[in-house]
């Protein structure tokens, strides 16, 4: 029994960590963890989940574990994979050990969309969204290009240096410089439109909204913490652009 409890706790923690790391709201992660425990015969799992760490315990057996969460990104394929495994486990399609194994491989897996496709995604976000916002068709091409370049820089700085917020800062500096010169050389019309469109793939709109949803769901620790993180990356982007405007 002690052995099984150990595995149940480990599986719950791993599933919870993967879900929170990859952009799920707190209530969804906690719900999944409770379900996994319930399907393993543990009915009174206690969870204290925050955005930076989870504590899980089974009261009767005095077992408890802590799991820290150090990085947060958005990768919904992983969230949906955890959900699928949890569903299959509930249907007794896979055993608890297999479930744990699968989660481990999932945790180490790399994103399935290749880098070039992500750049195309960023291009699709920046140009069309700018047109949707302002109805400005003239700057569609240059905004798409600038957005793709900015995202490429963001991706590589993030991968090579791995310092939070610096990648956003550099990417927005480059976006600002391109926008200013594009307008100066007559390739674009409105600096503001080009910049707003191009920073769209980088701005933390979704974390900001998730923060509000967490607060409304009663996660009063995680919500504001998420909000602060979103505010910091908005600061990095805004300061990058302001930096360019000061000197050019």
């Amino acid at each position: 029994m002690i052995e099984t409890n150990q595995i149940v706790i480990n599986t719950c923690l791993l599933a919870g960590r993967i879900m929170i790391e990859n952009g799920s709201e707190m209530s969804r992660a906690e719900d999944t963890m409770k379900r996994i425990a319930m399907n393993s015969g543990v009915n009174n799992l206690k969870i204290f989940g925050t955005i930076t760490g989870i504590i899980v315990s089974i009261p009767n057996s005095m077992d408890s574990q802590v799991e820290g969460i150090n990085r947060r990104a958005i990768d919904l394929e992983k969230v949906s994979a955890v959900n699928t495994f949890s569903r299959r486990y509930a249907a007794k399609d896979i055993t608890l050990e297999e479930f744990y194994e699968k989660l481990n491989t999932l945790d180490e897996a790399t994103p399935s969309f290749p880098f070039w496709l992500q750049v195309i995604g960023a291009a699709l976000v920046s140009g069309p969204l700018m047109t949707a916002f302002s109805g400005n068709m003239v700057d569609l091409g240059i905004t798409t290009l600038t957005g793709a370049l900015g995202y490429t820089l963001f991706y590589f700085v993030n991968r090579i240096l791995n310092i939070k917020y610096i990648s956003e800062f550099f990417a927005s500096i480059i976006i600002g410089i391109i926008a200013v010169f594009a307008v100066r050389w007559g390739w674009g019309h409105s600096i503001d439109d080009i910049i707003i469109g191009s920073v769209m793939p980088l701005v933390p709109g979704v974390p900001l909204t998730n923060a509000v949803r967490d607060i409304l769901n009663g996660h009063l620790v995680s919500g504001p913490a998420r909000g602060i993180e979103a505010l910091l990356s908005a600061c990095a982007i805004g300061f990058g652009i302001a930096f360019v405007f000061r000197f050019l």
């Binding site: 952009g23 799920s24 709201e25 969804r28 958005i74 990768d75 919904l76 394929e77 992983k78 969230v79 949906s80 959900n83 994103p111 399935s112 969309f113 496709l117 992500q118 195309i120 995604g121 960023a122 291009a123 699709l124 976000v125 069309p128 969204l129 047109t131 949707a132 916002f133 109805g135 995202y151 707003i196 920073v199 769209m200 793939p201 701005v203 933390p204 709109g205 979704v206 900001l208 909204t209 923060a211 509000v212 949803r213 607060i215 409304l216 979103a230 505010l231 908005a234 600061c235 982007i237 805004g238 300061f239 652009i241 302001a242 930096f243 405007f245 000061r246």
Partner: protein
Amino acid sequence: MQLLLEFFMAGIATIGFGIIINIPKRALIAAGAIGGVSWTIYWAMLQVRLGLALSALTATTVIALLSLYAARRMKLPMIIFNIPGIVPLVPGGQAYQMIRNFALSNSDMATHFMLEVGEIAGSIGIGFLMAEFIDRLQRKIIITLKEHKQRSKSKSANNTEKE
């Protein structure tokens, strides 16, 4: 015409964001359609001057209801549809404008954008709650109606037995 353009632009942007955040490939088109529809609603409501908060609230409720439907239909978690769907609405642009204006010391513009960020983010949060409320209400009504039907059926069955 303009409406159609807005729909396609927002739909394409939603699909693009879906690629960045790595949603399963079979969900891309559905997510794009949800994003396009909700943005068109939001845009049309803004054009007739119904205000930022009400428009965002309505659009988000539509997103959440459509995502719920799509999630049940395709057996995928709901956030795969609603996170890309809210991308056109989300106040990322305003958050950036706020910081930029603070950095360039245009405080009144900065405050204006700060209020907009709060307004939109709050509306989106409440919109999701609203959709959950509608969904639960609907389920409750269906269950109650079913129970009612069964009860009346068993009642009539009892009546016939007595007779």
